[in-house]
Amino acid sequence: MSNPSVITHDVIVVGAGLAGTWAAMIAGEQGVDVGVISKVHPLRSHSGAAQGGIAAALGNVRPVPNTGPDGPLEQVPPDAEPYDSWELHMFDTIKGSDWLGDQDAIEIMVKDAIEIVYEYEHMGCVFSRTPDGRVAQRRFGGHSTPRACYSADWTGHVLLHTIHEQALKHGVRFYSEWYALDVIVEDNVCKGIVALDILTGQVVLMRAKAVMFATGGYGRAWKITSNALANTGDGVAIAYNAGVPLMDMEFVQFHPTGVYGHGILLSEACRGEGGYLLNSKGERFMERYAPGKMELAPRDLVSRSEQTEIDEGRGVGPDKQGIWLDLRHLGREKILERLPQVREIALNFSGVDVIDELAPIQPTAHYSMGGIPATVDGQVIADAQSTPVVGLYAAGECACISVHGANRLGTNSLLDASVFGRRAGYAMAAFVKGGARLQPVESDVVARNEARLARLMSDAPAGQGESWSRIAAELKSTMTDNAGIFRDDARLRQALSDIRRLQERFQGVRIMDHSRRFNTDLLGALETEHLLTFSEVVVVSALARTESRGAHYRTDYAKRDDEHWLKHTMAHKSPDGPVLSFKDVNINWEKYPPQERKY
């Protein structure tokens, strides 16, 4: 038997959600040898929790003529004028991004959208349908047409299962329940990763010609979040520790309708299908904030509106920190047909039946617009000059290809993960077939990671031995209070000093479980270390950005400042904390110049 602690593939993908699995499937189809590691079974990936839809300008559905843009929907007759276009999708996305999205990347995403939805359909995805058998579409916040292709409110689940099945068909090798510890980047060349086989506790060197990070989002740094317990930002933290910069980390989206007290998502499809938001006085308060779009304004705007109502004393629930979501007028039939999962979640976690009761909701940390900077082919870049990190790729929520800019529109994340996962798959296959070689690994990276684990597992010296769970809880408190929906200089400085104090305390963390086999105590500690790592970057980036744009809202700088801030934040690791540099946003000044964002 060969040495079992070294594994080699042409391509190693970290993460098996939509982005990672698309990339693996495509590379596999192209004849490249692919291994995918995932810390959960691939079908447990958080892409599967997405509910509402995937955006594509298919133009299958339109409002009934003469009923206005908010009128009831019908299928577009075969001979009618096209009702949607990629150009419209592009403009909506640019506007939603508050002009921080890179327009070249957005153009690729919205054009590929149409093809990718048909591709999903051809691979067996069970979309909801129009009466004549086309893919059905519905409204979503910030989109000017009914553009969300959906499968009831299970869209992510259906897409994830479909693409996973295809990857299996193409012979992709999955390492289920393996955890990435480190990525080996030397002189801007990626040589592989170090991973932990969770089952055995063995640390393994995984060498590859190309490595892709598709590790998803990092909402777990906040107390109330829609994110799975697994979404701890491991990928972004690992990349950052290896010298890769992180881009636009200050932009974290809060979704307007998390289950009160839990943060579990009630899909935006609730509002897309016609749901209302009400304050404690029973007012549809969105008419004060976005009279043209009401509840279908983009998420940053709706979340801020809710928080304003709550802060001004018009919240609901025992501690007045909630808002009502009203679906009652949709009727039983529509709720059961289009929002069955929403009904079930509200029943289980709030004890209310949305068919005839109001559901208490609150804003919940949801999506991370920032991440590992990458080109439209998933190529990770090392600096503001776009120097490539050879052999390193990223896509999905952990990446920042900057199609969402300062605020993502609903249904654009399944799209982003699919489109750029696929493109990264093609790019990696071309890279491997173009003669890429395995690079010699000379560093002591395995020993370094063994030492990291050994410290956490060693018996605590006197006066030490803190639990990681307490540190994680304190981090979440400060991030929620000080780096949440509303921010200012003083609060962000408080968060930064809290994080640095917690980072010091983390040095004394010791775990209780000293066995190698399936050690989830160890994983919890490693995840907490990652949370502390990227949270510092979020806060330092937010402190620097003295303006309000999209999801980043500074009460002390309440205006968008295009003169100084039409640029991306890049944060590099240094011994003294993140060092920032900036990169211009790609804007087509002729076609899509910045304008005021009104809804």
Binding site: H41, D132, H157, S515, R516
Partner: protein, 261 residues
Amino acid sequence: MSDNGSPLTITVRIQRFNPDVDRKPYLQDFKVTWQQGMTILDALHTIKAEQDGSLTFRRSCRHAICGSCAMNINGRNMLVCEQPIKAHLNRKNEITIRPLPYLPIIKDLVVDRTTFWAQYMRVKPWLIPPENVPEKEFRMSPEEVAALQDAEHCIMCGACYSACTVVGTTKEYIGPHALLKAFLRVMDVRDSAPGERLAEIAGSDGVYRCHTIFNCIDACPKHLNPTKAIETLRKLAQKRLAFEAARAERQKHLDKPVTSG
């Protein structure tokens, strides 16, 4: 608070087993103070954080969509993330948590699902589309979609598989989860190999092995009905050739608008 206003202490009895050090599984009691809205998963997290970090279980989404946290509670399989613990306490305020039955234990509440996934692979879970793929979507009627929705909603949590007494006696049986996936593909008008699929599952390890005990329906956290799917597959297997011919006929029109009934 309990009904009389004092904090309610509950006993969480958990089956422990680390094969590296334990000779056999044993039950261990933990005391937890009940909080309003506490789920079984919340109690497991509390114990792990505050009492014993070595307590091992799987979980991820915590709202019943990822399928990680299926376990056996007081003898019944369920997803512990969506279950309020109070609903499962006995008169002495006790609850017993065990790993899914019939599967080898990796550690504590984590089981080895190797056979579960091997059976899933056996039914070739991917769609086998017809050769002529349209430029746009295959046309399917809302009714044809509705026929698939239940099977499509399976999250592969394994609650049904490990509740099945046939699985308990033979791991050769394909199992309710994989047969439900087979049903999804057989019934999909876009699939062009329903005959092959029916042949595969009509063997002695397939649909005829089901004893129709309905444990899978009882266990399914998504309220799906694998037994009914298995019964449908049995019937279709008996008229496989006619079904194949009907599918071939339907597939001649997959690029044409459907008329919805």
